[in-house]
């Protein structure tokens, strides 16, 4: 669907006319990210992160394909081939550092994108499907990133693979055979490395496919906006091009500046030094941690230290998966009629003083040693995390009285809207 005032694509030249008749690809692009897509006029910079995530995916695919030209997925030479890329291959260091830091920045961007969704309740009708597809994309990203981190075959690669596949071993009865099947052996080795490489190459294209569905689903209701008020009229919107291509371009420039600081001045800042030691199946590093972007979920995994009906290890695994699967139910857990956190005073308090500190704590704790007092804090943060989504959010959204909202986006931006139901001088009404 599009809005009736959306500009229509009109090919001017012979070639574009030819294409529009035979394969209307330019029309598709025009309607998706061109002047043919009307977008709310009040989008803040938080709405840049979808485009930035798309850029990161492209960056990872391009640098990844280049790296695959030089990398060898064999446990005997994988580590050496990565060093070969770093030292011998022309611009190999650039490609690898861009890929490694690109993964980190991809996750930074996606976390902001997700938390934008939390604050503005972007998951609410009519955008549930966009949200569900987004969670699927995030899960695919996690799988891809995990398998990619195994490929250099350093100590953290090896032990990360062992610990994460060991999670499946916690499942009763089928766990151990499943783990052996996943690894193709009894411990991570050549078979595991090769299949991880194969899947690490495949999954980004699956992600790209899911992203197309994500954007397709987005274009049906159109983008949400910081007021959470739906588009009512043409004056609420601007064409995507040139207004948001320009804004996204500026955002991309800022993003690239930050990215380049890491890429060129501290390329190993976000990595772990132990991964520059070749994998040794007979020696465990003193502290096994995943990459920083998995810390919150690793903290939840390790928070369970006591048996309660099920073994502690299984609780940890279940909680870790549940912590993301709960996002699938958000559109139905949040029951309030108002979307934007700007008009939800109670929700906003629990967001800024509950969920955000809780996530920050989990981020910190996931990278800490598994000892007191960190374990206790992990348990508290994990408990709060689930409490927030399963108890606080449903209750708060049911009982809270939202603040008065503007009649339209136009009114929110200009202070008045001539088309407002109550006329030009009407006061905003509470919903």
């Amino acid at each position: 669907m599009s809005f009736p005032w959306a500009k229509e694509y009109e090919p001017k030249y012979g070639l574009t006319k030819f294409f529009d008749e035979k394969l209307p690809l330019p029309r598709l692009v025009y309607n998706a990210v061109g002047a043919g897509y009307p977008v709310p006029r009040n989008l803040s910079y938080f709405w840049n992160f979808g485009v930035l995530a798309g850029f990161c995916l492209m960056l990872q695919i391009v640098t990844g394909i280049v790296l695959a030209m030089h990398y060898a997925a064999d446990s005997g030479i994988a580590f050496g081939s990565v060093e070969h890329i770093m030292r011998d291959v022309n611009w190999g260091w650039l490609m690898r550092y861009a890929h490694a830091n690109g993964a980190s920045f991809f996750f930074m961007v996606i976390y902001i994108h997700i938390f934008r969704g939390f604050f503005y309740a972007s998951y609410k009708p009519p955008r549930e499907m966009i949200w569900l597809l987004g969670v699927v994309i995030f899960l695919l990203m996690m799988a891809t990133a995990f398998m990619g981190y195994v490929l250099p075959w350093g100590q953290m690669s090896f032990w990360g693979a062992k610990v994460i596949t060991g999670l499946f071993g916690a499942i009763p009865i089928v766990g151990e055979p499943l783990q052996i099947w996943l690894l193709g052996g009894y411990a991570p080795d050549n078979a595991a490395l090769n299949r991880f490489f194969s899947l690490h190459y495949l999954l980004p294209f699956v992600i790209a496919g899911a992203v197309i569905l994500h954007i397709w689903a987005l274009h049906i209701p159109g983008s949400s906006n910081p007021t959470g008020v739906e588009i009512k009229q043409e004056s609420d919107t601007l064409p995507f091009h040139p207004y948001y291509t320009a804004k996204d371009g500026f955002g991309l420039g800022v993003f690239l500046l930050l990215f380049f600081i890491f890429l060129f001045f501290m390329p190993n800042m976000l990595g772990h030094p132990d991964n520059y030691i070749p994998a040794n199946p007979l020696s465990t590093p003193a502290l096994i941690v995943p990459e920083w972007y998995f810390y919150p979920f690793y903290a939840i995994l390790r928070a369970f230290t006591f048996d309660f009906i099920l073994p502690a290890k299984l609780w940890g695994v279940l909680a870790m998966f549940a912590s993301i699967l709960v996002w699938f139910f958000l559109p139905w857990l949040d029951r309030g009629p108002v979307r934007s956190g700007h008009y939800r005073p109670l929700f906003r308090k629990f967001f800024w003083f509950g969920l955000i500190p809780c996530m920050a704590a989990l981020f910190y704790l996931g990278g800490a040693h598994a000892e007191e007092p960190y374990i206790m804090f992990s348990q508290l943060a994990t408990a709060y995390y689930f409490l927030h989504f399963l108890v606080i959010l449903p209750i708060v959204s049911s009982i809270e009285r939202p603040d008065p909202m503007p009649y339209s986006i136009t009114e929110a931006v200009l202070g008045s809207d001539k088309k407002a139901v109550l006329g030009e001088n009407a006061e905003p009404v509470a919903v």
């Binding site: 032990w159 062992k162 610990v163 060991g166 999670l167 071993g169 052996i180 099947w181 996943l182 193709g184 052996g185 009894y186 411990a187 080795d189 078979a191 299949r195 199946p281 007979l282 020696s283 465990t284 003193a286 502290l287 096994i288 390790r302 230290t305 048996d307 073994p311 502690a312 290890k313 598994a370 000892e371």
Partner: protein
């Protein structure tokens, strides 16, 4: 005839006459064709899944031989079995006494030392060097390593302590260090 649409005459003219049971020839062919293709497709799933299981050369590494004749009392060696470490330790009398002094019922994973060793070789303790929590290699096999609070093995990852019989005593690991299948003939230890 009740299951077909249209009048009998229309069906006849369309060459779609159904039998007395109301089943058209075309229905049968459709179900048969889809079933055959479906079963064929499902059969192909099996090799696609099975190919990921350990291959023949990985399975061929499933025994490890070790000469333990030179293993002194109190000494331990690390061997590799299925690409994972195995700890072989010749226990001292003190360690055996420590292990036997523990009431078995008080253990998380109740096993006596005798159940974890073989008859005639009660002093030879063979366990996988794989923490049952998340698979790290516990310390304690090599000289000078931290043996934990129970003088056996200690896993540095998440702080699991194992006693002299490599039984879990403290920390998050759910079970004792696994004892692999093995046989001892003379001085030769065959694991697997």
């Amino acid at each position: 005839m009740a299951t077909t649409t249209g009048t009998p005459e229309a069906n006849v003219t369309a060459g779609e006459a159904s039998g007395e049971d109301g089943v058209r020839r075309r229905d049968f062919i459709e179900i048969a064709a889809v079933s055959a293709a479906g079963v064929g497709g499902l059969v192909m799933v099996f090799p696609l899944i099975s190919q990921m299981a350990p291959s023949a050369d990985v399975l061929a590494e499933s025994t490890t031989e070790l000469d333990i004749g030179a293993l002194e009392t109190g000494q331990a060696v690390k061997a590799v079995f299925r690409k994972q470490p195995v700890f072989v330790r010749r226990l001292t009398q003190i360690e055996i006494n420590q292990a036997n002094a523990v009431p078995v019922d008080s253990l998380r994973d109740s096993q006596t030392l005798a159940e974890r060793t073989q008859e005639g070789h009660e002093d030879v303790l063979v366990v996988m060097g794989v923490c049952t929590h998340l698979g790290c290699v516990p310390l304690g096999a090599a000289e000078g390593e931290n043996k934990g609070e129970f003088n056996g093995y200690f896993c540095p990852c998440h702080g699991s302590h194992y006693d002299t019989a490599a039984r879990i005593r403290k920390g998050p690991a759910p079970t004792n260090l696994e004892v692999p299948e093995y046989t001892i003939t003379d001085t030769t230890l065959v694991i697997g």
